[in-house]
Amino acid sequence: MTAAANTHFAPPAPPALPDDDRVVGDATSVGAPAALAAAAAAALLAACGGGGGDSASGGPDSDPQNTVPPTEPEAARFLGQAGFAASASDLASVKSIGFSRWLDQQFDAARTQSHYDWLVAKGKGAEANRYSLDGTDATLWRKLIGSPDQLRQRVVLALSEIFVVSMNGLPIAWPQFATAGYVDMLEERCFGTFRELIEGVTLSPAMGVYLAMRGNRKEDAKTGRQPDENYAREVMQLFTIGLSQLNADGTPKTAAGKTVDTYTLQQITDLARVFTGWDFDIDSADVNGLDFSYMKRPMRQNASRFSTGEKKVLDTVIPATADGAAAMKVALDTLSAHPNVGPFIGRQLIQRLVASNPSPAYVQRVAAVFDNNGKGVRGDMRAVIKAILLDTEARQRSTAPGGGKLREPLQRMIQWARTVGLNSPGDLWAIGDTSNPSSRLGQSPLRSGSVFNFFRPGYVPPNSQLGTNNVTAPEFQLCNESTVAGYLNYMQGLIGNGVGDMKPDYTADLALAADAPALVRRHAQLMAGGDLSEATITTIATAVATIKSDTDANKLNRVKASWLMVMAAPEYQVQK
């Protein structure tokens, strides 16, 4: 897609912004990276509503976002992007301290019990569970729904959809601990640097198994055996640089009208030799015991299986003298330093949190922060996440016909669950696998069908106005005649009865149930952050009001009907 094709989906420039904002639109013409970074840093401040001229992207005090307390719908809308739900405490907090400080607090929020430790505490490490996923879905739901650090949980879910591992593809002993160790690693590294993150991903036992890097051996001239190319290919195609050379705004570079490949088959074959010699950090004599702690440690290098001779990562030569760890370092340093990473990963993070079809200028602003956080650090994930969430294009409600994003089914369910305070008193979290497309969500955490995620970042729904206008809308890859029905039926069951020991708390709703418009407005505000029109609120309220409110049972039906209709409303399902 060209920049030109994209620009008209950008929301109109906000009237009150300072002139600095113009710089961003013209940034492609600024040649020097330093100038670009400065422009972007200025734009970030501008995007925050002030533009005080401080070229460093600054601490919270320099952030003018905090000077104006957001309204309740604005705060709820922000929480729908920066987390999952507008819980009462988060709403109050955002309204009192502002967007940027709330993000700072969330960056520093304590982590709750790790997935690994929870599984151990629940006895899932018994011999009978050696090949079992028992407990894995439960602990993922436990944190996605129950953990207060919702920014971290939201970002981890997003990262799990970029650096995809699926528990369905782990045919090894202790797959539950491999999955747990992987998600714990994402939690630990999601607010560090990209370089730390990609190393964590690369050396994690789960990814090692999922993309066959674990156990990958050097070539053997006698038998003709070659190193496995799987990880070498996907670490480039999916996790760092992508298939095509990108401009800083995420649009593809072209030569003679064609996109330019980032690598050749030969370069994959070369890189595959770097990713040899790694295996679980446990001695083979011990693998039949009950020590599965290697699933939370990086894999370790076995020099006898490491490819000999000179190697290459893209055009960078790795000398034959480099051992496995040193070669790996050069490979990851080189890939992480590639100019594609900022726009490639930045655009996908925007898509996961804010909008399916961000303007090139938005991607460029985020990519510039990725390249330099203002203090010379590349790939500072905190700065990148802040840049994404505080950008004008995120903070302004989109009015473009292709703006926003279809909330993914998981996001809708988790948002509702958090909003109604779903909790598992028995610490069971027995929601299970929600992958079934015709009876559940057609999507379940860490259960993608392949490393290509539930949906592709470039997906454009065919035969639609989105297709005609070439608007990417990844989540629509999951949207079909079965899943639209499966989602509504599943939510009707959850809203009606909860699941297992997890029961929705409708106390606040029941207090409003006699007043149908007030009830519906509450749900609309919490879930849609102002995206539901007055007409839709009236339609729902009118229908809800036909249910009597004379008994507790009838009031409860009003509450449930309102929840389902709000969650069914297209204005809600598409987050603006």
Partner: protein, 464 residues
Amino acid sequence: MTHISKLPALRRREFLKRASAVSIAGTAAPWALQLAAIGEAAAAAAPGDYKAIVCLFMYGGNDYGNTVIPYDTANYQAYANIRQALAIPRDQLAATALTPSLALPDGRQMALAPTMNRLKPVFDAGRLGVMLNIGPLMQPTTLAQYKAANVPLPPKLFSHNDQSSLWQSSRPEGATSGWGGRLADQFLSSNGNATFSCINVSGNAVFMSGGQAVQYQMSAGGAVAINGANKSLFGSAACAEALRGMITGERQHWMEQELNRVTARSVNAQGTITTALSTATLQTPFETNGNGLASQLQTVARLIGARASLGVQRQVYFVSIGGFDLHDNLMSQQPVLLGNVASAMASFDAALVELGVAQNVTTFTASDFGRTLSSNGDGSDHGWGSHHLVMGGAVKGGRFYGTAPTVAVSGPDDVGQGRLLPTTSVDQLAATLALWMGVPATDLPGILPGIVNFTQKDLGLFTG
């Protein structure tokens, strides 16, 4: 009603059956209206003119080397030397060694994977053909041309998502129409109900989207009704009605509109599909336990059995099975997957014979790409050309199509480690299927722009 005598016997019989059904259902309707209904019923329900293609996609890139295996002594030995630990012992291939009606040149012999034994009788019965070394090509390409990169090559070779898209649409990821859908575009007007022109029983595939044709996606279990929009929502009919209106109405925002369009299609089609499946009878057993593909093909067979009530004359179906990206565990997992494919296809073949439509339905396999012939220790890596199957009563089966590749690393067909440079293009297969469906040769470029680069547009897969 003299004009009706011009209908072929089969059509007239069907017409009379339909006519009586319509007249019973609509005794109170004005005669003119009834006539119109009868005309539509007859047009939509002529079974002699029914044709469907079924794309069976093996996601992940199936390893060709262990699917159709060299069996003559010399080539088996070359295969075993290259594959090492990935070689299937020759004695295990005896039962599935193929005896084609037209022998391969140079004494070449091939065998199906041992777990595909259920397809051997279908091959022997002449309803299954094997297409050798087929894959996406922009034009006929020699190895020298590939190495020099002096002719157009398929973009993003060896990449899963792009090559599965190329197989389905002739374009890499991001394509918005596939050749199955574009083929269906040609027939939308002859289908009484266009919604059921393209039915995907396994999710979403670009193959099935045309310029106008929209894929109808359902699960193997059938169409799903939206409970809350049906009669009442939490006891309230008014809420159910409001819900129904809200999720199916026209919207201004493009994403909301697309969401509601899908939902409206779901609501509108659900009753028809459910009724059709409830009336369809099928005796042929499918081994659906642990084999989702068998469930999908069973549902396709039942839908084909109910084609009259779906109002269709030309259909495109899509079914799929995943798990073929076997960089590891090739020897333990591929046999299971191929066994599932063979079992599902053999049952499907038997079901179509039972329904009397074996001549009317053609099934073909496809996959992201083939793989390397050389081993990475426990599996193989992404390749290009591969061997595929084509099945149906109209297929001249019991034989091979295309050219058997040289079994060699760095051989004349190898672009690296036994990745095959295809000698037959997917466009040629697509054109052959389109011609069989009744697309005029002059219309082929509209469906398959790349076909103009190939002299041979019909692979000769079909009888008559």
